[in-house]
Every structure is written in C-alpha cells, then in structure tokens.
Symmetry: C2
Subunit: 265 residues, 2 copies
C-alpha cells in the first residue's frame, strides 16, 4: 500500500479570520500522517498596498503583479502569513516548515507570456520540473511543509502564483510517491446546486456529472477553475479531491458523508 | 575527521547593495561543502516603516519591536529579503532553502524579560534547545539553509532576534556535529587598530589579545558585541571565527593571510 498524503489548501477567508484560523490550525495539527498545507493570500496584501499608496493595477478585472505588487505579496505571503501560520502550528506541536516554490527549488515556474494582457510577475508552474523528491525527503524528516503561493523562474526572479494551482500541481507531482488526497477549504460547504440554499450541497461529483452541471449552468463561475484544476489532478493520478468548508476539515479527512463535495473519476 | 561546515553571516550593507549582494551570492554559491547563510536586515525595514507612517520606537537609543514593527521585520526579513536571496542563490545553482527560527522549530527563543527597558517582541535564544539535528538533516539533503533573523517562542509568537547572535548560537550548536567555521561579513576589512587606516587590520586575535585590545580602547564599541559573541562561540566548540569584508569571503574561506581578522583561542 502506498502511504497516504493529505495536501490541504486554505484561502483568504481562513487567513483573515483569527478564530477560524486558530480552529483550522487545531484541526490541521491533529491530522494524522503526512500532510502539506498550501495557503493563499487574503486581504492583508491589499491592505498593505493601500497603506503604502500603491494602487492595485487591474486590466479587464484581473490583478496585475507589477514590481511593487510582487514585493508586497512576497512580504505578506512568504513573510507575514507564512511565518505566522508556522509559529501557530508549532505551538500546536505540528513541526511546520514554511516554504515558497523558490526554497529547495521545489516549484520551478516561468513568467506568464505576454498575450492580450501582461500579467506582470505572475508565474505559471513548470509541472514536469516540480521537485517532488525534495518534498518527499522533507516529509520523511517529520516536517510539515507550509507553502506560500510564490514561485521563481530559476533565474533569480520571484513570481506570484495561484495557490489553488500550486496545490493541484503538488498533488499531481507527489502522487508518484503517495496516495494523495487533495482538500480545498474555502468559504462554503462545498459545491452547491443553489448558493442561497445551504441544503443543496452536492456530496459526490464525477467527471461526467461535472460536465453536465457546468453545461446546465449549475456550477457558478468562480468554482470552474477550482473544479477544472481538481479533475485535471484526478486524471493525472491524484486519488481524491474534496472541496468544502475549513470548519469541516476533519470530517473531510475522515471521509464523512456530506462533509463537503468529493470529486472522483 | 569531522565534516567542515561554514556558517556565514551577512549584514545590511550587503543586503542593501545590489552589486555587492550579487557578487557575494556568486562567492557564497562557489563555497564547497556544507554551508549556512544567516542574513540581517538592512534599510528596507526602516524604509517600509516610514512609508507606512510607523515611527520607530526608540528607548535610550535602542530600537523597540512593537507589534507593528514585528510585522514589518517579519515581512521584510523572512519575506522579501530571505526569498530574494534564495531566488538569487538558486539562479547560481545553490540549492538554497529559506528558514526562520520558527521553521522546523530550529531556533526556540523567549521574549526578552522586561527590565529597565521593554524591548517588545525581541527574542533571546534558548541555546540549549536549538534543533541542530534538524539542520543537520536538512544539510544532508543537499539543501543550503538561508536563515532570517526571526525566531519564535513555541507558543505562537514570532520574535525579532539579532542575526549575529543567531549565527553564533547556530555555530555553537552545530559544532557537536561539524567542524564549524563562523564567518562574519561586514562593511570593513576586519578588526582594525585605526578605522581611518586601511592598513591597520589585525589579522589574528586570540582571547588574551582581545582583552588587552579592549582595555586599551583599540576595539571600537560597535565591534565588542560581535567579538564577545565570537569568543564565546570559540570557547563553546566553534573551530574558528573570521571577521571581514563580504568581498573577501572566498579568501577567508580559504584561510588566506590578511583576508580578514581570524579569531582563535
């Protein structure tokens, strides 16, 4: 039997809420076996930008990472958030080690090519080059990697990279060594038929069902990249993907019914 | 023979100067064998504070780390500086991994007791609790630790800690496993008899000589904590300590005469 590994991603809603983060940290620390946490950004980066008088650069509603913004996200994601989470987990006897994709060159990436939009210092992951062996070695030392959404291009340039994409790329790469369970924690109970009806959770979704739900327009726009990422990961060897609320982490890890939405082939 | 390990500390003068940092990174990357880099802060933290309108808190000429300042140094030291140095070294084929004392719990510390001055969130290292085994394991993986001067108290609190002290504490702790050479790079050629005379470098200093130089007033005030730290490290098992200019790193590593000041028992 291949050893299980949980890769858990939390977003800004957990980061920004002290009580929720503390509860999440308790639950994460109590997860048995091998685990990796990937965290997103939250409001802190925007708050810091405005304090410093740096206006967010937006093009067609997309945030552009210019040089100043890259410095800010590096400070906030890799510095403040990552180290606060590491210290919090250490206080709960979880031997956390905070990393970016530059550390140990674990997540090589390249600056996104300029097309109709120049996204600036945004990194697209070189999936084939992920250093899953290095992460495996770090896990073997009993350390728990806490990954900030910053990568690098191997030529000295740091890059801002989507945390969901990092989580799924790591999940795929590490599925060579482990039976990987990928868990996306976000602000809702899972994939819902109706966002206004808390009873409308879809507990199981396979790929075929996903395609028809998407066609029907049941899956809302914001969920589509997350679910596309998830099914791509499943097709590339990840054992299971859960999408659900951070408060339900333990139930999702234990595979409880209605703990969130479980995606499978 | 015990394996050699170089622990190299750079200060703000290297961090703040792009060309000097790049040259240093070339030299550091080319150092053979096991190595650890400890970096200080530089001007960036003060610049960020003033951009954010946070006035430095000073008491009797000493900087106080209040909660806002702790956030800033965590962002700048553990985020911006640490990850920029890691990405730079990665571009020079040095498999750098950036860490604080919270990561892997490698440097446990406690908040400095409030005496005549309340220094705020400043950490004094719990030397006996340093996780030299974890660092040894990380070194064994072929990774090169790049340490930012932030520690934690094990109860979830990050702490601001002097980088010179971190370097010497690590040197002492790791001397159980390695023959440790500690190198302090700073803005001068070494310990000078006369700061205005570049030819007045003192190339060798033993403990007895240090005490009389101190008595004579030849060693200037700013050097005393660094040299006290160094001799304490030597007395606790560190093999050698160099103090010199970052530009002379390679010569100090090779033990060349007049490359800097070499301290010994």
């Amino acid at each position: 039997m291949i050893i299980p590994l949980h890769i858990i991603k939390i977003g800004g809603n957990v980061i920004d809420n002290k009580d929720l983060l503390n509860q999440f940290a308790n639950d994460f620390a109590s997860v048995d076996g091998l685990k990796i946490l990937v965290h997103g950004g939250g409001k802190l980066a925007s708050e810091l930008s405005s304090k410093m008088g740096i206006a967010p650069q937006m093009v067609d509603g997309r945030r552009i990472t210019d040089a100043d913004t890259l410095d800010i996200v590096t400070m906030v994601y890799a510095g403040l958030i990552n180290k606060k989470v590491v210290a919090l987990l250490q206080s709960k006897n979880c031997n956390a080690i905070g990393l970016t994709g530059a550390d140990g060159n674990i997540i090589p990436a390249h600056k996104r090519a300029v097309g109709q939009i120049d996204y600036g210092f945004v990194g697209d992951i070189d999936s084939g080059s992920l250093k899953s062996e290095t992460l495996k070695d770090i896990l073997k030392l009993g350390l728990v990697p806490i990954i900030a959404p910053i990568t690098h291009d191997g030529k000295g340039q740091l890059l801002n990279t989507n945390a969901d994409t990092i989580a799924s790329a790591l999940a795929v790469s590490l599925s060579r060594h482990f039976t990987v369970n990928l868990v996306y924690c976000f602000e809702r109970d899972g994939v819902m038929r109706d966002l206004n009806n808390s009873g409308s959770l879809i507990p199981h979704i396979n790929q075929k069902e996903y395609l028809s739900l998407k066609e029907e327009g049941v899956i809302n726009k914001g969920m589509i990249p997350k679910m596309d990422n998830s099914f791509e990961a499943i097709n590339k060897g990840v054992n299971s993907v859960w999408i659900g609320h951070a408060e339900n982490l333990k139930n999702m890890i234990e595979g409880k019914e209605n703990a969130g939405s479980k995606l499978s082939k």
